[in-house]
């Protein structure tokens, strides 16, 4: 009797659990992207360019670990589209963004890219953040001869005919940061990064550069993504740099929190051990906490504190649309200018559907961006300003150094032996994505 009752109860609880899980699933459906306004889902089936609208794709992670970073990029892209639409659209047509969720999962990114191109017939896609997601969608865009606008600084060593990179190449972020550190902070570097493609490639570049310029790599270590045990690395840093030195940080995501918290606990203060980060922007400072990051450095092309009228306008428009407590950062700005550059290219080409014409028209496009004037080069990268910022009390960056003019992009790194002497020029069919600079 007792046993039967137990089994019965088990059945009841089982069905309760089942019910709850159904409920959970129902409630946990990814938030509709159109909470912020005009974005629509893919239910309208008209082909891109036909009718009154031009369809473009927005492909970012709206769920998963990359969500918060990428969500803000989506916000910036939608802001740009809204502004363009309000000013009359492109070629007299309104832009209709179709937002897809890559879910922080690289195969999903590839699948959604295919869907945007084949099913929704978009004329261009704005999207991706991590190198892994970009590498996943790259073959899709090349196969379909389609177009992706990629808004994040990355490790370089890539130059695709089908991607426009509006973030920094290594020579527009990492290399100038190293130069500045060598000049102002010391010759001895400890490199710490997350254990995956971007930090390892970036550190290869830094090591080659240091070897060439008379600096010294005293140690390097990689933390598995999500790991929080930093004590052995801190001991290593202290052993390698007993009297202080530069720490170059390419950690991504959560590990940064653990690293900066424990760095402070171990007494490695910014005056003796300045940390230069290339993946920490305004959004991340807010998440990690200013008290752990104060007086540390970051290198980007854009900071919210950049003093240009265009930036004033951008920041004000962003805050007006999304709230006073929001901040702008480099990838958001790069995404924002990507949309404008695409618009200019389409207008110059006189068509949005002929991707080949749009691609050719994109070369040489100039745009007065919040960060300053940017120019699209034939190697699909932008000439950009480079800035070094120091985290202040308010969590924003105080700009301590900036280049006098925009720096031209070099996708193939000239310090690393494998890619030394390689260039990229898609405006000339005989040169293409990987040609030898000496041959010309």
């Amino acid at each position: 009797m007792v046993r039967r009752l137990g089994r019965r109860k088990f059945l009841i609880y089982g069905s309760a659990t089942l019910g709850t899980s159904i409920l959970l699933k129902a409630c946990s459906e990814p938030p509709a992207p159109d909470t912020t306004g005009e974005a629509t889902t893919s239910d309208s089936a008209a082909a891109g360019g036909n009718g009154d609208t031009i369809k473009v794709g927005i492909l970012h992670s709206l769920s998963g670990t990359m969500a918060i970073s990428e969500k803000s990029v989506v916000d910036a892209e939608q802001l740009a589209i809204e502004e363009i639409n309000a000013a009359g659209g492109v070629l007299g047509k309104q832009i209709e963004p179709i937002v897809e969720d890559g879910a922080s999962d690289w195969p999903t990114f590839a699948e959604k890219a295919r869907k945007l191109i084949d099913q929704d017939k978009v004329v261009s896609v704005f999207g991706c953040w991590t190198s892994a997601s970009r590498k996943a969608v790259l073959p899709v865009f090349e196969e379909k001869k389609h177009m992706l606008w990629y808004p994040v600084q990355y490790e370089g060593q890539e130059c695709s005919n089908n991607i426009f990179y509006t973030g920094a190449a290594p020579n527009q972020q990492i290399e100038p940061a190293v130069d500045w550190l060598l000049e102002n902070k010391g010759k001895q570097f400890f490199l710490i990064g997350s254990d995956y493609v971007f930090p390892r490639t970036a550190n290869t570049i830094i090591k080659a550069q240091l070897a060439e310029l008379g600096g010294e790599t005293v140690g390097e270590d990689y933390l598995p993504l999500g790991n929080t045990e930093v004590t052995p690395i801190i001991t290593k840093i202290r052993a390698a740099l007993p009297d202080g030195g530069v720490i170059f940080n390419t950690l991504n995501g959560d590990s940064n929190v653990a690293f900066f918290k424990q760095l402070q606990g171990a007494g490695l203060t910014p005056d003796k051990y300045p940390v230069m980060s290339v993946s920490i922007a305004e959004e991340e400072v807010k998440a990690i906490g200013t008290e752990y990051l104060k007086d540390q450095y970051a290198a980007w092309n854009y900071f919210q504190t950049v003093d240009t009228p265009e930036n004033q306008e951008f920041v004000n428009a962003f805050k007006a649309k999304y709230g006073e407590d929001r901040v702008t950062n480099d990838p958001m700005e790069a995404a924002y200018i990507g949309v404008y550059l695409w618009k200019q290219a389409v207008e110059q080409a006189g068509t949005a559907d002929d991707l080949e014409a749009v691609r050719k028209a994109a070369y040489g496009q100039k745009f007065e961006a919040p960060e300053g004037m940017v120019t699209m080069n034939p190697n699909h990268h932008l000439s950009k300003m480079v800035r070094i910022g120091k985290v202040g009390e308010d969590g924003l960056f105080e700009i301590v150094n900036e280049t006098e003019a925009a720096v031209e992009p070099v996708p193939w790194n000239q310090f690393v032996a494998d890619t030394k002497g390689l260039g990229c020029d898609w405006s000339d069919p005989s040169k293409g994505g990987k040609y030898n600079l000496k041959d010309v």
């Binding site: 137990g6 019965r8 088990f10 059945l11 009841i12 609880y13 069905s15 309760a16 659990t17 089942l18 019910g19 709850t20 899980s21 159904i22 409920l23 959970l24 129902a26 409630c27 946990s28 938030p31 909470t35 769920s63 998963g64 670990t65 969500a67 918060i68 970073s69 922080s104 254990d195 270590d221 990689y222 933390l223 598995p224 999500g226 790991n227 929080t228 045990e229 004590t231 052995p232 690395i233 001991t235 290593k236 202290r238 052993a239 007993p242 995501g253 959560d254 590990s255 929190v257 653990a258 918290k261 424990q262 402070q264 606990g265 171990a266 007494g267 998440a287 990690i288 906490g289 008290e291």
Partner: protein, 390 residues
């Protein structure tokens, strides 16, 4: 030399203490009940999120209070996770005693549910679940009081499930459409949230020695202290209290204990609740080290299992020794100190230099654990008798 020695001793112990506090609850549940709880990491995560919530409360209270929030967060985290553990034991695990594989699968499922829960929890969801529970269990209660309950049960329950689910879902939908973002905004979201240590816990204690100095971080000292406190508390509870005696009795011989009038069901529930509560305390501690995200627990679960297995099932001393040993090994290999020690012997030096990164140190420690378990399959302190062969 002395400074270096003390520094590495401290480094090893500090990692060991984190491992131990994470493994303590698991060791008790696994050792005393033979239940492998794969949701232990998620219970830690819940503890960490509880700390985050408590921190936010105290932040709104203002300055003098904020400095003390951690002292309140620890007991609250203990209570919250103990409660969740209790629900878990009563709702799932007690039906699966003596079936380790099913328990493994069920707790793994629970861990996935908990992860997704903190990612997507919002007011609508909480209201929906509460409503469902109220309706469903309320109806169950009504049925249980009827004379013909046995007869109507078979068809009443499915109807009730569907009905309460439908009502809860509809009301949730209506709420989310009327109030929109105010109610549908996730509480925590997918990105990690951050727990800020109070000011007195930032920085560290500078130890000046003749040939150098190093700093003991206050957070680490706090965690070491907390670990010692937890171990002492558990030891006293198991050895000195009446319920501790009952727990030990049930562990040794369940059916005999039951014959002698010990409520074994209650003992199981209590043990599991305490083990879960300890996971909450551990979560509170690790939230001070890094950020808190839905996968926080996952980073620790493998290591804590290693601690329990290497220490020997059911032995508190074993867990302590194993945690300190694994922590110290991780530290010595990862920080390259071991390589330095073997400097005179070229091949060994090369070997240990190769493993002297954080990722590779884990590989080596894993390999060493496998070798160790080949030699002593029962762990450092194996249970006497035949019991550990299950």
């Amino acid at each position: 030399m002395l400074a270096g020695l003390l520094d590495s001793l401290y480094g090893g112990i500090s990692i060991g203490a984190v491992l131990l506090i994470a493994a303590l609850g698991l060791a008790i549940v696994f050792g005393l009940m033979g239940v492998i709880n794969l949701a232990h990491g998620e219970l830690m995560m819940l503890g960490a999120y509880t700390t985050f919530v408590v921190q936010n409360w105290f932040k709104s209270l203002g300055e003098p209070w904020f400095e003390t929030y951690i002292l309140f967060a620890i007991p609250i985290a203990f209570l919250v996770t103990a409660l969740v553990g209790l629900i878990l034991e009563r709702g799932v695990i007690r039906f699966l005693y003596g079936r380790p594989l099913e328990t493994l699968l069920a707790t793994w499922g629970v861990s996935l549910i908990l992860q997704q829960f903190v990612r997507s929890v919002n007011w609508v969801m909480v209201i929906g679940i509460a409503l469902f529970c109220l309706l469903f269990f309320g109806a169950l209660w009504v049925i249980s009081r009827r004379a013909d309950r046995e007869r109507i049960r078979s068809w009443a329950i499915p109807i009730m499930v569907v009905l309460s689910l439908g009502i809860a879902f509809t009301i949730g939908k209506v709420l989310s459409e009327t109030f929109e973002l105010a109610l549908t905004k996730p509480w925590f979201g997918t990105q990690g949230v951050d727990v800020t240590a109070p000011t007195w816990m930032r920085g560290g204690w500078l130890v000046e020695l003749p040939e150098g100095s190093f700093q003991l971080s206050y957070v680490r000292l706090f965690i070491i202290g907390l670990t010692i406190l937890c171990i002492t508390g558990i030891y006293l509870f198991l050895q000195r209290s009446a319920w501790g005696l009952r727990i030990r009795a049930v562990t040794q011989n369940r059916s005999m204990s039951a014959c002698l009038g010990i409520p074994t069901g209650k003992v199981d529930a209590l043990t599991f609740a305490i083990g879960s509560g300890l996971a909450g305390v551990a979560g509170c501690a690790i939230s001070l080290l890094g950020s808190v995200s839905p996968n926080t627990g996952q980073d620790y679960i493998v290591n804590t299992f290693m601690v329990v297995v290497v220490g020997g099932v059911g032995k508190l001393v074993g867990s302590i020794v194993a945690a300190l040993a694994i922590g110290t090994m991780n530290y010595l290999i990862g920080s390259g100190i071991l390589a330095l020690l073997f400097q005179p012997i070229e091949p060994l030096f090369d070997l240990f230099t190769f493993f002297a990164t954080t990722s590779m140190a884990k590989v080596m420690v894993f390999a060493l654990i496998i070798i160790f378990l080949q030699i002593r399959p029962g762990g450092i302190f194996p249970q006497k008798g035949r019991s550990y062969e299950l």
